[in-house]
Amino acid sequence: MALLEIRDLTVRYSTKGKSILACDRVSLLVEEQDSVGIVGESGSGKSTLAMAVLGLLPDAAQVEGEISFKGVNLAGLSDRAYAQIRWKELSAVFQKSMSSLSPVHKIGRQIADIYRVHVPKARDAECRKTALEILKKVNLPPRVLDLYPHQLSGGMLQRVSIALCLLFHPSLVILDEATTALDVVTEGQILREIERLQETEKVARLMITHNMAVVATSCKKVAVMYAGRMMETGNTADVLKRPRHPYTKGLIKSFPSFTGDRQSLRGIPGSLPDLGAPMPGCVFAPRCPKARETCASQRPELVDIEPGRRVACFYPENGGAGDA
């Protein structure tokens, strides 16, 4: 069953005389207990998408389209209504916990504060008990409760954030570059913990990252975004093995492989288009090796081209084994 369904979401940031299209008719489906990774480079609109779902976009952003979460349209929901579901149904972990936690309050106090958002009359002892339980889940010792954020390492802080987002057993967790700032070994630890927690807590997970490898190891499904548009969605292993969109293919080719030959890497020539200029055709056309005339004038829609795979391209790759 669909837990979150985003339909034709458009987010436009208007500044002095310029209007930037950050998300351009993006559609995405997240089922219950699903894990979806959104991959994209900077400027692809992946974080805007997350912020739109969380209702955290700045006032200057104009939102169109529908974000249906458990049957409720989140787009245009009032702040008060949002407050009812944030933390409880929908929560998030951001890249820098150092800046998302208060530096002048102890961890225990911050957990209690958030607990009281939805349980206003909770007593101190109850808060402490809940906090201890939740810290145990993410493998943190009880002494963390009485520490300040600056006394914790990056990995421990990220664990605190993960603990916080699971406080009320939400049905959807959004992780926005949650492991990007961590070292390799710590990142591995946290990713495994996230996967384990997803199993035990039965939550759906939306992971936003620029690192394809993170998605490859931890998500069932992947959605590739570029310049505000959705390029390709599908099963992770399948998309990585047989990318059908030329952009996905180029992106995968840009990652150095760890095993096998050290074959020459190829980047994608060119750079991101100006998001302020109207693009009647495909956004990737100027950099695409397969672009033809139609690509510059007509916009390819995201359509099913095989079961479980949606691609926005007029001339998709054939996805043969030797192709990837």
Partner: protein
């Protein structure tokens, strides 16, 4: 000499210690007047045309090592020889001495927007080093060298780029210019400190290729500092793995990456996420995070987190041992063949 190649860089037991007046440990204890051993006895040699990748987690001293190599920080102990000459003997008091040294060693930084002057045009950015070092006899000749450099870096048409300012360029384009600014002097030795980690994935490959090409073509050598393991494997001939200020494993890139011996290297590599969905690697889980390089020793620095730890590890630091083909590691208990089955 190695295959007719020249030894350019020789690092002999380089040490850099910082003294910190007050230090708060993760558990809240406060210590006074501590010695932070950022680089604690590193030795290696590098030949012309070679690229050495240095990997390790944050705080392992890899960036400090890079800064020592180009003399941005004075050594606490040991020595660094470039073309057989100690960098300690460089006369930094005289302009000529400084210039001669800077011409042989160059540094490429992580963020190109911070390493070039935002108010200078590309032409000025590239011309200044040429002028300083007296390369090219006239303004026109120097401009020609710049145009060639831009074209080599794939920035065409070069004349268009000359008059632009850094803010008018993308991160990738500007990083190419930063690379060419270093390479235009034909240095003997370059340090690249995380040169691609802030660039977008789709343009990283081209920057890596440019770095590799330039190093090989100019017969220079490079120390490539990164935390990204797959990238380091792609660009490097040799790899050094650092942990708390020391090299724990060193060897040919594919030897270290595919047949890691040291338990830390094995943990590091097995935890690096791969994009190949068929690859089923069993990550080695090690507990905790690297402690700070304070009060380390006398035993192996990695011992507190190590899965092969024995009593001996806590008493003495394991010396470097060769397991063939110039592949060195420092561990008492690791067996060179154990890591093999990790990688298909």
């Amino acid at each position: 000499m190695r295959n007719g190649r020249q030894k350019v860089l020789e690092v002999k037991n380089a040490v850099k210690h910082y003294r910190q007046k007050m230090l708060t440990l993760p558990d809240g204890r406060r210590l006074k007047n501590q010695l932070v051993k950022a680089v604690d006895g590193v030795s290696f040699a590098l030949f012309s045309g070679e690229i050495l990748g240095v990997i390790g987690e944050s705080g392992c001293g890899k960036s400090t090592l890079g800064r020592l190599l180009v003399k941005l920080e004075p050594l606490t102990g040991g020595d660094i020889l470039i073309n057989g000459k100690s960098i300690q003997s460089v006369n930094t008091k005289s302009k000529a001495g400084r210039l001669a040294f800077r011409k042989t060693v160059q540094l490429i930084f992580q963020n190109p927007y911070e390493s070039v002057d935002p108010r200078e045009t590309v032409e000025r950015i590239l011309m200044t080093p040429l002028k300083l070092h007296g390369i090219g006899s006239s303004e026109d000749e120097r401009r020609k060298i710049c145009v060639e450099a831009l074209e080599t870096a794939g920035l065409k048409p070069a004349e268009d780029f000359l008059s632009r300012y850094p803010c008018e360029l993308s991160g990738g384009q500007l990083q190419r210019i930063a690379i060419m600014r270093a390479m235009i002097l034909n240095p003997a030795f370059v340090v690249a400190d995380e040169p691609i980690s802030m660039l977008d994935v789709s343009i990283r490959a081209d920057i890596l290729n440019l770095l590799k090409e330039q190093t090989k073509n100019k017969n220079a050598c490079m120390v490539f500092i990164s935390h990204d393991i797959a990238t380091t494997r792609y660009i490097s001939d040799k790899v050094a793995v650092m942990y708390l200020g020391r090299i724990v494993e060193y060897g040919n890139a594919d030897d270290v990456m595919h047949r890691p011996v040291h338990p830390y290297t094995r943990a590091l590599i097995s935890n690096a996420a791969s994009i190949d969905p068929d690859e089923k690697r069993q990550p080695i889980e090690i507990q905790g995070e690297p402690p700070s390089p304070v009060g380390t020793g006398p035993g192996c620095f990695f011992a507190p987190r190590c899965f092969l730890r024995t009593e001996r590890c806590e008493q003495e630091y394991p010396p470097m041992a060769d397991c063939g083909g110039g592949h060195w590691f420092s561990c008492f208990n690791a067996q060179p063949d154990e890591g093999k089955e990790q990688v298909p």
